[in-house]
């Protein structure tokens, strides 16, 4: 009896081993997508897995963007990195300088013989993730950019033209006064203050955020966002706050709730917030480009991207890389991209996906969805291509802290920006020392 049992057990084990040998190659994909976006990620993986039998993409949620990056790094140090790691845009420099840890996407696609043409990608998106030799380092996945949403009903109520959102900051400030006078709670709020009001603000005005072309040309770049223009802008925001026209909702994307609850009438944030705003706002709203200061030469240029890209980690088996390459090819298909763009509000990363969406009549049915794309398809400059700064996640925290000091009246804008630049430069110096 016992003999029989153990031999059947052995058979079972053998059987499962065989099954394993035939099973698809598993590819780990760590990501930071929550809620409906998490569902969408799973759906993408399922579609790919169903389309072939050799590879199986396993998406794993690893927390927020910064947690996902840390988890990926911890795993790499321990020799367990996933094949695909989603890293937010400010982590780009960290990844790019970790030469031994990553496999550039351009190289991967070439090795695996997958079709890959960097020129088919939207320049402002691809540029952010491209090395100085022109090779794309990571696969742009979810890219958004900064736009402005405004409450058309409130505009009408305040006697403003609902079809004419403010185009410049002086116009915005004038509209804010009228909205406030009409009894609105607050006129204006913003998500991601560092990204929207300083990083993207700089690119939009074609002024540098840091030297060395925002860090693209070297590790010894230093921050310069304490220029008179930046100080003027932050001072304006501070004054609007004093007048009760600007309301601060938090460091991340908390402020959008202030918009869709009707508390604030103008809101700057990510283009990918469109879906959730559409779902939650009980009023007519419009999407517009960010305002700019008309006296600045070169403005408006283009805004810069946010979101994340997919990095391929070193140290995996050849079969896994083959699967990753195939998966990336799948992800960049125009119809997959167009669907991703339309259902999430992220930018289409290829021109083909944009054209496909345009043809489908999507933008007519969903006014405002193309504002972000139009903002991005222009030719970028050295100052607007993006940021390539080490320790950028920490620099953002520093900026958040110092801006909060301005909003709460503890520091004058000039002082706070100087301090942020000083503290940020220390972080850059430290990164420079470690990356050598």
């Amino acid at each position: 009896m016992r003999v029989f049992k153990s031999s059947s057990l052995a058979l079972l084990v053998l059987g499962s081993l065989c099954a394993n040998a035939q099973a698809a190659v598993e590819i780990q994909w760590w990501h930071a997508m929550t809620g409906p976006l998490n569902d969408k990620v799973n759906q993408l993986a399922n579609e790919f897995n169903a389309s072939q039998t050799d590879y199986k993409i396993v998406p794993v949620f690893k927390g927020e963007y910064d947690e996902t990056l840390s988890a990926g790094i911890a795993a790499f140090r321990a020799g367990n990195a996933p094949a695909i790691l989603q890293v937010y845009e400010v982590g780009t420099a960290t990844m790019m300088h970790a030469k031994g840890a990553i496999k550039p996407v351009a190289e991967l696609m070439k090795e695996e013989g997958e079709p890959f043409n960097a020129a088919s990608y939207i320049p402002a998106v691809a540029g952010y993730y491209t090395a100085s030799n022109g090779d794309m380092m990571s696969f742009p996945f979810n890219s958004s950019t900064t736009v402005m949403y405004y409450n058309k009903d409130a505009f009408k109520k305040a006697g403003l033209d609902a079809e004419k959102p403010p185009v410049t900051w002086p116009e915005l400030m004038a509209d804010a006064k009228k909205l406030k006078a009409a009894g609105e709670g607050c006129a204006f709020t913003t998500d991601w203050q560092s990204w929207v009001q300083l990083e993207s603000f700089s690119a939009w005005h074609n002024v540098p955020f840091a030297t060395k072309n925002n860090g693209f040309d070297g590790l010894d770049a230093r921050l310069v966002f304490n220029s008179p223009l930046h100080v003027r802008h932050i001072t304006n925001l501070r004054d609007m706050m004093k007048a009760g026209e600007f309301s601060y909702g938090g460091r991340k994307s908390e402020s959008q709730a202030k918009f869709y609850s009707g508390e604030c009438d103008m809101f700057m944030g990510s283009s990918s917030s469109l879906a959730s705003i559409r779902k939650s706002a009980k009023f007519n709203f419009g999407v517009a480009t960010l305002p700019y200061y008309p006296d600045v030469k070169g403005a408006p240029q283009n805004t810069i991207i946010g979101g994340a890209s997919l990095w391929v980690m070193n140290g995996h088996k050849e079969a896994e890389y083959k699967g990753v390459a195939k998966f990336f090819t799948f992800l960049s298909k125009p119809e997959v991209q167009a669907d991703w763009h339309q259902s999430t509000g992220y930018l289409p990363i290829t021109m083909a996906a944009y054209d496909l969406t345009k043809k489908s009549g999507f933008y007519e049915k969903n006014p405002g969805a193309d504002v972000s794309v139009k903002q991005m398809v222009v030719k970028t400059t050295d100052k607007s291509r993006g940021l390539r700064l080490g320790n950028m996640p920490q620099i953002r925290t520093v900026i958040d802290e110092e801006l909060e000091n301005v909003w709460s009246g503890k520091k004058e804008p000039q002082q706070a920006l100087n301090d942020a630049v000083k503290r940020g430069n220390e972080l850059l110096l430290r990164f420079e020392q470690t990356a050598k």
Binding site: E67, Y248, G250, A257, S408
Partner: protein, 293 residues
């Protein structure tokens, strides 16, 4: 402090200790040693390059005014949590003790916060106090309070103290209640006959008899505030506004786990470990003496 009657065996005690020692060495000393080692190096996030920098990471820490102010913040926070948590628990326990028949009913209701995970507690309170969506925030505004803990450091500190104390209140309450119930009623009756009112009885009899419990809870609460509250800070303020709620444990986590500054955060870990060792010794000295009495 040591047992007078003991067993003798050459090998048995080691065998009994083996599992815990093994786990402690592998999962505590090894990582702690690693942290100590890393605190002397400067390295990139991926650990691809390392340079020995000696005590540079420590020097940087202690010359950084922001790190030093984080000490102050932590102290203030811990004292706040302990005072609020202890006084409100004592108040409730005192009154619950008066109504013995209802005590278990109130106990059942008051015990809930203990079961809530800090990560969930943060979310839950955020849901109440968030200036945009929070219900209590809404009420506060109705009452004319300008509530915005995102920019008002005092409010932010008050809120995280409130949440942290709330999480700990059940625990304190249970201890105080048990302590109160073990006070002989005859003592209080005797004082009552002598004409002492409830207020006087509390201060002259109850409170002194509770002092061992209070001291024990004080240590527990301080340790809790120092080390177990990071999920709350993370969920509610993330250290802000500015750096006004950035307690030490949150800073380690922020710099190491999120900021990827391995050397700097390892140095902070080492400092924290030193504090913990200090606190442990204090507690032992106290507890040892108490057992001797």
């Amino acid at each position: 402090m040591d047992k007078k009657v003991v067993f003798h065996s050459r090998w048995l005690p080691y065998l009994l200790l083996a599992p815990q020692l093994a786990i402690t060495v592998i999962f505590f000393f090894l990582p702690a040693g690693e942290a100590l080692y890393q605190s002397l190096y400067l390295q990139d996030a991926f650990g691809l390059g390392m340079q020995f920098v000696g005590f540079d990471n420590f020097t940087r820490l202690f010359t950084d005014p922001l790190y030093l102010s984080s000490f102050q913040i932590t102290g203030f926070f811990a004292v706040g949590v302990a005072i609020l948590g202890l006084t409100s628990a004592l108040l409730l326990a005192y009154f619950a003790d008066r109504v013995l028949r209802m005590a278990s009913f109130f106990k059942t209701l008051l015990i809930w916060p203990y079961a809530v995970a800090p990560a969930v507690a943060g979310v839950l309170w955020l849901f109440l106090f968030n200036p945009s969506i929070g219900l209590i925030a809404y009420w506060l505004k109705m009452m004319g309070v300008s509530w915005n803990y995102l920019l008002n450091s005092e409010q932010a500190m008050g809120l995280v103290i409130l949440i942290a104390a709330w999480k700990q209140i059940s625990y304190n309450f249970l201890f105080f209640l048990a302590g109160l119930q073990s006070i002989p009623k005859s003592l209080l009756e005797a004082a009552s006959i002598d004409g002492a009112g409830p207020w006087k009885r509390f201060w002259s009899i109850t409170f002194p008899l509770l002092s061992p419990t209070t001291f024990f809870l004080l240590v527990v609460n301080v340790v809790y505030a120092f080390f177990d509250t990071f999920a709350i800070i993370d969920a509610v303020t993330q250290g802000g506004p500015g750096k006004s709620t950035e307690i030490l444990v949150f800073k380690v986590y922020q710099d190491g786990f999120k900021g990827l500054d391995i050397g700097g955060s390892a140095a902070q870990s080492v400092v924290l470990m030193a504090i913990v060792v200090g606190l442990t010794i204090v507690q032992f000295r106290y507890v040892e003496r108490k057992v001797e009495y």
